[in-house]
Amino acid sequence: MRIRTRSASAVVGLMLAAGLLVLGAGSASANYTDCPSSYACMWTSNNYPGSPNAYYATAIVLSSSSNLINSISNNGNYSIARFYDASNYTGAYITLNNPARGGQTRDPNLSSGTDATSSNWSNRISSANFA
């Protein structure tokens, strides 16, 4: 796994903070394109509504949104994003490909599983990383 600099996180943090302000002003934005380039994003609601509730550039252990994620998108540079049931990148997981690889790169409703599984993944994700 490669490590990115903190400056990138800071920039995206500002971007997302700006997005939250816009949402607070009543924006109807609801699209996976709100996930910044080089990041994978997670939303607690279906269909990627507005700014993501969690995002990461290398890896993340969720806190307040743990077991509450319902839609996900991979907009990262890496080849594959993994989303784990357990809190420290262990146990069952689902994946999203880099868009250039083909296959699945986002999922709007995890309750019906993903392209790769019919298992219900609503409110299950606790950690995620790139590999």
């Binding site: 993340i60 890496y78 080849s79 049931d85 146990g91 083909g102 790769a116």
Partner: protein, 289 residues
């Protein structure tokens, strides 16, 4: 397709001969193990990985990366790393972290200190513009046109059934109880309820930072402290001593074999389809690898 059809037919015939196993006609876990020669006393992989070598084969990603690199030539660099050149401590096939006493002594908890190995895809620092993004998606669609999608849905559900069984396994729960006793000398005030939740904040705080939303992300270039390594080594020793990993594998194996027995036709069809899919991957790798 022919292979898949023959397999499906043989499966149906075999299924008929063994249909007396249960009232529903499903094979029992033991019957499935016997049928495929799976022995969980010696196995290192759960049944779905052991019996279907093509399932989640890293060759899938490799072939797709080769196609992406060719397709994106002149647009953006797309790096391809062969599966045997990956340096990650995450098993590229099973997706699980490698954790044992040797890893613990060197890295502490590996998820906090991933080695900076070569990774496939777009290099660090390259900004993906909307035009590049569009080209990447177009290339992905071409890859799907050539390869199709991996026939993993049935197998992934079987694998998930295995993971779901852990919370109901008395063997796993006994191992966890023993592990907690074994970990007492570490003196952790926030020892998690089970090994899969290690390390706790008191150990990981020097290697993680909170992001703007309160989530924990790895601190760049963090080195494991002596304390982290000490706890990690004890953790690895305790897991081995109480047979935690073995108990997890047993529970997963039992549940996966049961799930296979309940959907033998789907399982066999997936095995056959994966053989066809693997041929397409090999064609790409032979052409571009």
């Amino acid at each position: 397709m022919l292979v898949a059809s023959l397999l499906a037919t043989s499966t149906l015939l075999a299924g008929c001969s063994a249909s007396s196993s249960t009232e529903s006609g499903a094979l029992s876990a033991q019957e499935v193990a016997d049928r495929y020669g799976y022995n969980d006393a010696t196995a290192t992989l759960s049944p779905v990985f052991a019996l279907v070598p093509q399932y989640k084969d890293p060759k899938d990603g490799y072939a797709r990366d080769l196609l992406a690199a060719q397709c994106l030539a002149g647009v953006v660099e797309y790096r391809v790393v062969a599966p045997d050149e990956q340096t990650s401590l995450i098993d590229q096939r099973t997706g699980q972290l490698t954790f044992n006493q040797q890893v613990a002594a060197q890295w502490g908890y590996p998820q906090l200190h991933m080695p900076a190995g070569q990774d496939s895809a777009v290099p660090n620092g390259v900004t993906i513009t909307p035009a590049i993004q569009s080209a990447m998606r177009a290339c992905g669609e071409k890859a799907d046109e050539r390869l199709g999608t991996p026939p993993q849905r049935v197998l992934a559900d079987i694998e998930d059934a295995g993971w779901q069984a852990l919370s109901n396994s008395s063997e796993v729960q006994d191992a966890i109880t023993q592990w907690r006793s074994c970990m007492e000398p570490a003196g952790l005030i926030d020892l998690p309820s089970q090994p899969s939740e290690m390390p706790p904040a008191s150990v990981a705080s020097d290697s993680q930072v909170q992001d703007a939303q309160g989530n924990l992300v790895p601190k760049p270039d963090a080195v494991a402290s002596d304390r982290e390594k000490e706890v990690a080594v004890l953790d690895a020793q305790c897991r081995a001593q109480v047979g935690y990993d073995t108990a997890v594998l047993h529970a997963r194996a039992e549940a996966e074999l049961t799930a296979i027995g309940q959907n033998l036709e789907g399982f066999e069809a997936s095995r056959g389809a994966y053989e066809d899919y693997e041929q397409k991957l090999d064609e790409v790798i032979n052409e571009l690898g």
